[in-house]
């Protein structure tokens, strides 16, 4: 099985026609489904949060079989993820896509669990600590995309589970939990 670094690529990745957007509906639906799963899987294991369509993204090209996804195909697969709520376009031109391999709600749950695991139910912690601190090391929160974190925080704020307060710089922004 072919690998991309440590990531095991599925068999369809080596079959040239999968790199061409299929015209027949049923075939295309299957193709889209396979690519959606692959994209989510890959992003999750590599902790990638943003895909820029025009840039080199390892999944979009297979040098072994010399095939590359057209822009149309890339947009089709990502749009499908967006429709499913597993991604969001970051711009009107559909050139950048935020990948939600965890949905925002899932991230919110992970944050709450993090608070519980670290005895922060009524505590304070900075954004910096959540993203890069020692406590978050080894958890999925470590290295989390800023945009996604903000959205999860907003969600929890709306539910009254925490309050975001600003510090002297953006990295000093803090959270007070009230779980």
């Amino acid at each position: 099985m072919q690998k991309l670094g440590e990531f095991k690529l599925p068999h369809f990745f080596n079959y040239p026609p999968y790199f061409t957007l299929q015209p027949v509906r049923d075939t295309r639906e299957k193709q889209i489904q396979l690519w959606k799963e692959l994209i989510l899987d890959y992003c999750k294991t590599q902790k990638l949060f943003v895909i820029a369509l025009e840039e080199e993204f390892p999944l979009f090209t297979n040098t072994v079989i010399e095939r590359s996804l057209t822009n149309e195909a890339r947009e089709a697969f990502l749009s499908a993820l967006v429709s499913e709520g597993r991604a969001e376009w970051m711009d009107k031109g559909h050139r950048k896509c935020l990948i939600l391999w965890h949905r925002i709600q899932d991230w919110a749950d992970i944050l709450l669990q993090f608070a519980k695991d670290n005895g922060l139910e009524d505590g304070v912690v900075t954004i910096e600590e959540i993203r890069f601190g020692t406590e978050s090391q080894g958890t999925e929160l470590h290295g989390i995309d800023r945009t996604i974190l903000n959205r999860a925080l907003k969600l929890l704020e709306q539910k009254g589970k925490l309050v975001v307060f600003k510090g002297t710089s953006t990295d000093d922004e803090g959270i007070k939990f009230s779980v």
Partner: protein
């Protein structure tokens, strides 16, 4: 026999006819009886054989295949019914029934990827993967027998030959001769181009495109526009070598 005139004569003729008729029936009956007896001898010998070699039949596909041939010669079909002597003795009615169910499963699972046409070899491989722990090896012959039983259900399952390969069809798609020829051509590299079809089969462009479009619509072909030579390729998942393409690693 001398014909005698009058009613007496008629009665004698009738009696004679009756006697001939009875004689004829007797002869026929004797012949049938003899045949029945022979057949019954064959059958009981076959039954003895089956009893003695029950385990071998269950475990060894080559032996199993030869056993079937022997049965066929004597007009016995051990798979004919799930009840009765054979099924009970050998339990092989269940074996083929089970295989049949697994085959249907695999065909349904792979249908979105290959349009309902799967290479027999690939099918057997996937079947073996599924039955890994199980009682004995499954041969292609076993697959074919199980599929022939499925046909009886009218489930649209059929084995077709394309060139040197056998493909199992699990959809009602009718493949005509043109389609078959393209599939055979595709066995070379797994794909064909319109040019190639025209050239190798000496067809007009219209005929080639028609056939390819149908195969595409039926989900048996996929297009590939990514080659640097710019020519569209039509790939056929059902003729590609095993495991080069299925997105399903374990069924």
């Amino acid at each position: 026999m001398r014909r005698r005139p009058g009613i007496g004569g008629l009665q004698t003729a009738a009696a004679a006819r009756d006697q001939y008729k009875k004689l004829g029936e007797n002869v026929a009956k004797t012949r049938t009886d003899m045949m029945r007896e022979q057949l019954s001898t064959f059958r009981s010998q076959l039954e003895d054989f089956a009893r003695k070699h029950k385990n071998d039949i269950r475990k060894n596909p080559a032996f199993r295949s030869q056993f079937h041939e022997m049965c066929a010669k004597v007009g016995v079909d051990p798979l004919a019914s799930n009840k009765g002597f054979w099924a009970e003795l050998l339990g092989i009615g269940d074996f083929y029934y089970e295989l049949g169910v697994q085959i249907v499963d695999i065909c349904l699972a792979t249908r979105p990827l290959n349009g309902g046409l799967i290479n027999l070899q690939e099918l057997c491989q996937l079947l073996r993967q599924r039955r890994k722990s199980d009682r004995g090896v499954v041969s292609e012959d076993d697959c074919l027998r199980a599929i022939s039983k499925l046909k009886v259900l009218g489930s649209g399952f059929e084995v077709i030959s394309v060139g040197k390969k056998k493909l199992v069809r699990s959809v009602p798609t009718e493949l005509n001769k043109d389609h078959n020829e393209i599939l055979e051509l595709a066995q070379g590299q797994g794909f064909v181009t319109v040019d190639e079809v025209e050239r190798r089969l000496s067809w007009t462009s219209g005929r080639a495109i028609d056939a390819l479009d149908t195969l595409l619509d039926e989900g048996l072909a996929m297009i590939d526009d990514g080659h640097k030579d710019g020519k569209r390729r039509y790939w056929f998942p059902c003729v590609s070598p095993i495991s080069s393409l299925t997105g399903i690693d374990s069924l």
